[in-house]
């Protein structure tokens, strides 16, 4: 049963240098209680995709397509209707907690704000609830931490606050944007364990460029490159047998597989390469790859891949 269906989503930013096609024709479904990993190199459009589900992209953007959440197209809701869903049924853990928390408001108050808004609790009850939440995300000494300012907490604790904030309204879908970025290994592991725990009965879009983290937590993986998806498969199959040359390249760049980076650099999203967008960096590139743009094809085992090797 699909909770969220993204159809032919396009998000373009008109800029002085040209149109940035940050998301360029993405189709993606998230099932109930599914944890879907969205992986890809920095700058390929992951954050923009996540934010456009929440309609957090600035209004100067050109957006096209459909984002169907429980039979309603989020893109055609009124601002007020969208606001009720935002932070309520769908919550987001934004990337970079350090800058995503308001530096001059106590963290407890920042969490309480969401609780009061979506659950209508009064100040006192909300505070009690916040302390419970802080305990749930394992912040030590919650009675004291509730009155801390963000700069008084470590990076790992700030991330926990962000998670608590997202959980505050008991959402059905969480969009988590690089929640493990910049944390050291032990803290990272704890955060992943925490996220696994709190999403037991929810769906999550887990955005990351950390494949290890994705392998640990996700059910399925979508691979993104230059604004489009290249492969969509279960986590086991993609790690044991990546089909797309880009997925393979990503895996080969992992430390335990020899730390072999993909040659070349990710393309500009203003002038994406003709044909297959990955062809300048692909070791298997053929004549047709330079000329025609490959479509996403569904394979028999339910995997999907965008590459002429499988067409």
């Amino acid at each position: 049963m699909n909770l969220l269906k993204i159809k032919a989503l396009r998000v373009y930013f008109p800029t002085d240098d040209g149109i940035v096609k940050a998301v360029d024709g993405v189709d993606l479904n998230i099932k109930r209680e599914e944890i879907l990993g969205l992986i890809g190199e920095t700058g390929c459009g992951k954050t923009v995709l996540g934010m456009s589900i929440m309609r957090l992209i600035q209004s100067t953007t050109l957006t096209d397509g459909e984002i169907i959440y429980k039979d309603r197209d989020l893109l055609s809701l009124s601002d007020d209707e969208m606001r009720k869903i935002r932070g309520g049924e769908i919550a987001m853990v934004l990337q970079n907690p350090m800058t995503s928390l308001n530096p001059v408001i106590r963290v407890g108050e920042q969490i309480a704000e969401t609780i009061r808004l979506h659950q209508g609790l009064d100040k006192k009850a909300a505070r009690k609830r916040v302390i419970e939440m802080l305990r749930d995300v394992r912040i030590p000494d919650p009675e004291k931490s509730v009155d801390s300012y963000p700069h008084q907490l470590s990076g790992g604790m700030q991330e926990r606050v962000m998670i608590a904030m997202a959980l505050a309204s008991d959402p059905e879908l969480i969009i988590a944007d690089e929640p493990t970025k910049g944390l050291d290994v032990t803290v990272k592991r704890e955060i992943i364990r925490l996220m696994k725990e709190v999403t037991a009965k929810r769906s999550m879009l887990f955005i990351t460029h950390d494949l290890g983290a994705a392998a640990e937590i996700c059910d399925n993986i979508a691979v993104m490159y230059a604004g489009e998806l290249l492969e969509h498969a279960s986590v086991d199959s993609i790690f044991s047998e990546p089909l797309h040359p880009y997925s393979e390249g990503l895996l080969n760049s992992l430390p335990e597989r020899g730390l072999k980076p993909i040659r070349g650099i990710s393309p500009s999203l203003i002038d994406t390469p003709q044909g297959c967008r990955f062809h300048p960096r692909c070791d298997y590139a053929m004549e047709i790859c330079r000329e025609k743009h490959p479509e996403m094809v569904k394979l028999e085992d339910g995997r999907a891949v965008r590459c002429f090797l499988y067409a």
């Binding site: 009720k84 869903i85 935002r86 932070g87 987001m92 308001n102 530096p103 001059v104 920042q110 700069h151």
Partner: protein, 326 residues
């Protein structure tokens, strides 16, 4: 520790201001009497008889060694003795303190209004960035801010005082008026305050407006605003709870420091409206060449500004949790 450095710095500044005040009349080329007796507007020597020259000479203690003059001067200031006003024939301190309340009333009221209004308009402008409302506000505020306060004051006198005849054009109260009640007195004072205060407000509003607009534009681009939006807060709640406080913090000091400098603006406005404050006093002192009075007024204005700056500097330390909790 931090406080201590600040306090030392401010004491030093006060000391410098006092020293400048001491040094200026003595530093003039040639005999100070000659430069003092030149009429400042025409540069022509004013005819003075020997008695008066002698009086001035002993007034400044010029017959004593310079170090002794300096310590005497400091002692006098500590005793609140700012000298003797030639024009009013009264102690300078007395003349000044008599006028001080009017300046504080005028500057206080205008400051309160222009800061709140400027900050509010700046926030609105940033929120509506690039839209017609923002551009309209921006151009209006920049335009009105380009008026020298004395020119706007003169225009107001002509328009509201003479042509429309709805406001009094000079003074702080109606002369020789007997008030039947405190409320009457209050009304009269308010009535006289409106034009000078409006002039000060309009010519100073560009400062806080631009500061707030810029600061707010920065804040609106911050990630935590996206967080606030992601929570489902209304635009108004975001503005109120997340944007305004953050935008205000870094500019409090600057705005508060401008507050101190408002008193400088009062010099012109008081002059044009013949408002009996310390700024008008300074102008009179200049035109009557009443140097002891001029120096006294200068000293008091300077001290007020420095005190305001000091308070501004200190409040910031208590406002920003990042500074407070280090």
């Amino acid at each position: 520790m931090h406080h201590l450095t600040k306090i030392t710095a401010y004491i030093l500044i006060i000391f410098v201001a006092i020293s400048i005040n001491f040094a200026l009349p003595r530093m003039m080329p040639g005999d100070p009497i000659t430069s003092l007796t030149d009429d400042p507007t025409t540069g022509m020597p004013v005819i003075m008889d020997e008695d008066i020259k002698e009086e001035i000479r002993s007034y400044y203690g010029l017959d004593k060694p310079i170090s002794e003059q300096y310590t005497d001067y400091l002692k006098d200031i500590l005793k609140c003795d700012l000298g003797w006003s030639i024009y009013y024939n009264a102690p300078v301190a007395e003349v000044i303190f008599e006028r001080l309340k009017w300046t504080l009333l005028l500057v206080g009221t205008s400051t309160l209004i222009y800061m709140i209004l400027g900050i509010f308009l700046g926030a609105v402008s940033a929120w509506k960035r690039g839209e017609r409302g923002d551009l309209g506000l921006l151009v209006s505020v920049l335009s009105i801010g380009s008026f020298p306060s004395f020119f706007l004051a003169m225009l107001f006198i002509i328009l509201f005082g003479v042509k429309l005849d709805i406001f009094p054009i000079f003074g702080a109260t109606t002369p020789f008026m007997e008030y039947s009640s405190t409320f009457d007195a209050f009304k009269d004072v308010l009535y006289h305050l409106i034009l000078p205060a409006s002039t000060l407000v309009l010519t100073s509003i560009d400062g806080p407006y631009l500061l707030m607009r810029n600061s707010m534009l920065g804040v609106l681009g911050e990630d935590y605003i996206v967080t606030a939006r992601a929570k489902g807060l209304t635009e108004w709640a975001i503005l109120k709870d997340h944007a305004i406080k953050n935008a205000l913090l870094p500019i409090t000091t600057v705005i508060a420091i401008r507050m101190g400098f408002m008193i400088s603006g009062a010099i012109f406005v008081e002059t044009v409206f013949a408002y009996p404050g310390i700024g008008k006093l300074l102008y009179d002192a200049v035109s009557f060449s009443d140097y002891p009075l001029l120096q006294g007024a200068f000293l008091i204005i300077t001290l007020i500004i420095i005190a305001a700056n000091f308070i501004a500097d200190m409040t910031y330390l208590y406002l920003d949790p990042r500074v407070k909790h280090g």
